[in-house]
Amino acid sequence: MKATIEDSHLTLSFEEVLTSTTVQRLRRQFIQALDEAASVLCVNADISQVEMIDSQGLNFIIGMFNDARARGKDFRLCGASEANRRLFAIVNLQEYVNLS
């Protein structure tokens, strides 16, 4: 996961799958990135390079949203592929997360 800060926006670029085998490590990295970017107002999660998201990956996304909101920051999920957008529609992810 790469983290960049620009104009009060923290952008997290995910370059691997979001699945049961990766989310624990990614969650630690996400929390660390949030701690190091206390002053940002918005968190963008770029998932354009993510090929697969399983149920635990979806829960990770919801977790990122909740953690960002708990710290008073906006959260946006961007770059979803057509396949991932279809997945989000199937599980009604918009009930949990603002999708851009």
């Binding site: 049961s20 085998t21 697969m52 399983d54 149920s55 979806l58 057509e82 396949a83």
Partner: protein, 493 residues
Amino acid sequence: MQSVRDLVRNPKWECFDCALIAEKINGKPGLECIAWLLQHDPHISCILLTQSHSTSLLLQAMRTGVCDVLVTPLDPQTTSHCLERALNLARNRRGLINVSLQARDARELHKRVVTDINVSSKIVAPVDLRLETAFFPAMEAGGDFIRNFPLDDNRILTISGDVSGHNLSAGFLSAYFLGMCRGMLASHRSPEAIFQEFHDILVEEWNGNNDRYDIPISVSASFLLLDFSSKTISCCCNGAPQPILCDEYLNTSILGECNPPLGWFAGRIAKTVSVAMPESGSIVCYSDGLLDLDDGHHICPLAKADAVLGIPAEESATSGFLRGQRDDVFVHRISWAPNHSKRMRFIRPICNGICHVEKAESIDECQKRWDKALQLSFPGLAKARRMEILLCCREAALNAVEHGSPVKTCQFTIACHGKDRLCVRVHASDWTGFIQNVQKDNRHTPFGMKIIKGYADSIVYDATNNIILLEFLLTASNRMKPPTSIQTVLVQA
């Protein structure tokens, strides 16, 4: 050059094993003449005569195909050694060609002696039957074989084997064994008796009297007897990979017992094991050459077998999948289904195994295995659809073990029903209770079943909730489909 052309056209040309050609012939490059000569007779040895010690000339000569270079003035001893080497080289090449042609003739004779009978038309059975065989030898001569023998009264016998070695001896032994099978079957001897007799011959006569070989000759052989009257399948496996049976509920099981090859140890051959024949099913047999294919990628043998069966017979070394094969490869798949049944069609199992979800990486390894199997068996399947199927398989495994199983494993089978229905069977090794109704709590949203219901075209649970069967239409495009059909039935475990 003209005189060389005339010489090559001479019927006595094959008497020449070596040509000495000067660097310049009437002002023209001698290497051109050599290149032309080797094009017409690749087995002749060509020696270049030159006054030059140039490295570039030497390299060019080697690239052209000369076997040696002699620098003038010629030294008699050096010239004599060079000529001797060149002549031996040519004679060895010509000798190998003859052996190869003889091996090819032997194989053709072998085929004529024991033809593979089209048995499906000769079987009168209350089922639709399909027999598929693929055989890709690694060399001209060898001992792998697979043959079907229709017996009377609704029985079919398949005998397959792998004779150690890839030479004419192996080919001869293979032909001998099959001829023996044919003769003894005509005398109504049982397959067990045939195997036992051949094993005794190998141990006592062939290997017992043969002190030429350090390693005894052995035959990894198995037979499969399908009896459509008594609805039984019998298997005797001696050193060969054990066949895999898959029924209409995608239960897979290994047939026969693991035993040494014929010819190794004196005594009894492997025990014949019989099982009940399912109403619809498929049996896959293969040689150990299949296991070596594409080694290192951990592809399921069922997937490799399915891919090999799909390779046209005229391909072989050119086929990407068979490129670099080290051993003979044969695959045989017998499939049956009730006559005219639309519900049960021929089954093509393409992957099976156990997923140990307690190790985080294990499910990724399983997913790679499933992915390889799908790519091999359905190369035209859109990536998006393939990823949907993989995601469902992953969620089924996670769901199976996340909600109760103390053992944290599940058995998987992936198979194709008919032309375009892919079925995935997940069986938890202990009672788990697949969650059928999605429930939310504050800590965890169970998306797994939502995903499966979103992508699978139908879901069947068994009454005990230990088994889930997912069905996917492979021709389905990415579309918002109507709600998945969900049923609960009794599925045999």
